[in-house]
């Protein structure tokens, strides 16, 4: 799901909620304003109608009936008398207003109040009785309506200002709030898996962000710590193992020299010596990798004829592979010069070529090798026949000591360091190695190094 930026989310939500709150507060205040006006008018109707009813009563005792246009001394301006009812007889006073009453309103009980809608204005009507007479009195609500209309207008006029102010302040606040988030995200994004010393700026604040920052930093501390330990471990272990290994190798070699007569013993000793060489080579590989991890792989670089070096290695591969009925075809572009550490480069080339031999068909396999310049790089390609590398292993074949199921089953010799060494050597030379393809037609690895500058 596509999600808008944190800042925009924050802004739109705040805006929506504010709008709802403002609208609600407007409705509530309009309602209460209206109610208080109406209550005031109701109270006024009750108060003013009392003397009017009394005057009407005294007039009536003089025989004057309430009728249209009757002049009363006690009637204040604005108080309208719709009708007066006595002993079941109704006297209409204000025909225009009285006409607007419905049957139900005419039958309304004493003490009730209601609003009627006139032509231009609304009227508040109260039914008031003094015991004998019951009168329908009214006052105009136009003033109240005007007040409410004025308030609405004020609300509507200030609304845009409020919105603009809110938008501005939310923009500013959300920017301020999200800045540390953005900075943290930037720091986290800059982590490329190699530089483990990256830490996020911790301002020591105990809010959620501060906690995220500190968790991330703690995670990185642990990661860096265990990485450093792992690196140091293989470097230390290699050094520590070398001395006893040297003694072991020396003793075996001495024993081999002394055991001329007994061939069975010699075979055992020679086999043991081979194993020592294997351990030694693994240790050297680990040491090289741990130096490469620490970025301390020192190279003794010199200008090299890559073509000649590949040709030399291919000569050995051909000699060995053809003795096993394999075929080697080569297409090496001559005079490709690079700048590299000769020993390391030899290790890389030999690893690729010996893998091509090891994981080939049991008989009648082929190896084809080419070296050519591609743009600013020299690209060495080594392709062999044989079983394709299973999909799930492809990502992992460059890992240390990783061996595919099939290679274990094939019982191929090797320490499982070859490809990771080759990759470390490539990286140290600003080059790379990758699996180009692996299918029924063959498995192809490519190794590229930058060409020497001319």
């Amino acid at each position: 799901m596509k999600r808008p930026k944190f800042r925009f989310q924050l802004m739109s939500w705040t805006l929506l909620l504010t709008a709802i709150a403002v609208a609600a507060s407007f409705l509530v205040s309009a309602h209460s304003l209206k109610k208080s006006f109406t209550d005031e008018i109701d109270e006024r109707l009750h108060r003013e109608s009392k003397p009017v009813l009394a005057e009407l009563k005294s007039l009536q005792q003089g025989g004057v009936q309430p009728k249209r246009g009757i002049e009363l001394e006690t009637r204040p301006t604005g108080l309208q008398i719709l009708r007066v009812q006595q002993n079941g007889k109704a006297h209409r006073v204000q025909y225009a207003l009285d006409d607007m009453l419905s049957e139900k309103q005419r039958a309304a009980s004493v003490g009730s109040e209601f609003t009627i809608r006139g032509k231009n204005e609304k009227w508040r009507v109260a039914v008031i009785s003094d015991g004998d007479q019951t009168g329908w009195f009214a006052r105009s609500l136009s003033e109240t309506d005007e007040e409410i209309a004025k308030m609405t207008k004020r609300y509507l006029r200030t609304m845009p200002l409020v919105v603009v102010f809110l938008l501005g302040s939310i923009w500013w606040v959300s920017g301020r709030m999200s800045r540390p988030v953005r900075e943290l995200a930037k720091t986290m994004e800059s982590f490329d898996g190699m530089n483990l010393s990256i830490r996020a700026q911790d301002d020591g604040v105990a809010d959620e962000l501060g906690r995220v920052t500190r968790s991330w930093n703690r995670l990185m501390d642990q990661l860096e710590g265990s990485f450093r330990q792992a690196r140091r471990f293989s470097a230390d272990a290699s050094h520590e193992l070398k001395t006893p290994l040297a003694a072991l190798q020396g003793r075996l070699e001495t024993a081999l020299r002394k055991s001329e007569a007994d061939n069975e013993v010699r075979v055992e000793l020679a086999g043991a010596l081979e194993r020592v060489a294997e351990i030694r080579s693994t240790l050297d590989g680990l040491l090289l990798l741990s130096r490469a991890d620490a970025g301390k792989l020192s190279l003794q670089t010199s200008p090299l004829d890559f073509s000649a070096l590949v040709a030399e290695c291919l000569e050995d591969t051909s000699a060995e592979f053809e003795a096993e009925d394999g075929k080697v075809s080569a297409n090496v572009t001559p005079n490709i010069f690079i700048s590299a550490d000769r020993r390391l480069l030899l290790t890389a080339i030999t690893n690729l070529l010996s893998n091509a031999q090891k994981y080939n068909l049991p008989e009648g396999g082929t190896i084809s090798c080419s070296l050519e310049p591609v743009e600013n790089s020299a690209v060495l390609s080594v392709t062999n026949t044989g079983l394709p590398i299973p999909e799930q292993d492809r990502e992992r074949i460059f890992e240390r000591f990783y061996r595919t199921k099939s290679s274990r089953e094939q019982g191929a010799d090797g320490q499982g360091l070859g490809l990771s060494l080759t990759a470390a050597i490539a990286t140290a030379h600003d080059g790379m190695v990758w699996l180009e393809k692996s299918d029924e037609s063959g498995t192809e690895f490519r190794f590229s190094l930058p060409l020497a500058e001319k």
């Binding site: 050094h239 070398k242 001395t243 290994l245 040297a246 003694a247 190798q249 020396g250 003793r251 070699e253 001495t254 081999l256 020299r257 001329e260 061939n263 010699r266 075979v267 000793l269 020679a270 086999g271 010596l273 081979e274 020592v276 060489a277 294997e278 030694r280 080579s281 050297d284 040491l287 020192s298 190279l299 003794q300 000569e315 050995d316 000699a319 060995e320 003795a323 096993e324 000769r342 020993r343 030899l346 290790t347 030999t350 010996s354 090891k358 191929a412 010799d413 090797g414 320490q415």
Partner: protein
Amino acid sequence: MKILFLEDDREIGDFVVRGLKEEGFTVDWCIDGNEGSNLAADGQYDAMVLDIMVPGRDGLGILKQVRSRKNTTPVIITTARGEIEDRIEGLNLGADDYLPKPYYLAELVARLRAVWRRSAGDGMSQLAMADLTVNLMTREAVRGGRMIDLSPKEFALLVYFMESPGRVLTRTQIIEHVWEYQFNPGTNLVDVYVRKLRTKIDAPQEASLFETVRGVGYRMVAPDDSPT
């Protein structure tokens, strides 16, 4: 051939010294850099094998001291650290060769003979076994008057064998000496090359100078010396 050998590990020193003596070298072994420094200054040696990390004056210090006195005795530097920096520094200070530990005695012997030969000049440039002679200067091999054409690797292989006559060399020793790269498990490169070399050296009517020691390796031995 008299050697100054500086090595503080008694166990390693012990069998290297024994091995070198068996190969006919005279060895002065010291375990302390200061003693080594004195011996290097006084004695007349044909070659020196100096370990870098020893108590007292270190191997590189002794090398510097030796060279500063215009002494051109061949020096081989050894170290367990295997750092490229050490190697470069050693060679820059005038070491003739550099041997990372652990090394094979056979390898040390071959390197000692090689450095010594280089310093001794023409007189030492020839190796011989039965009717086979190898000229290290012209890089020619001749057997019974017949010139044998060898590739650089075949030549290096032949020289390695001839420098340790009668000694069995294992495949690993051979591959580490002749090929610059390391142990390559399961390889039969050595067998392939020895077979090639053998066909070239041993003509059909000639006695074979090579012997396969099954499950161990190969050696070169003159027909007369061959144990029955």
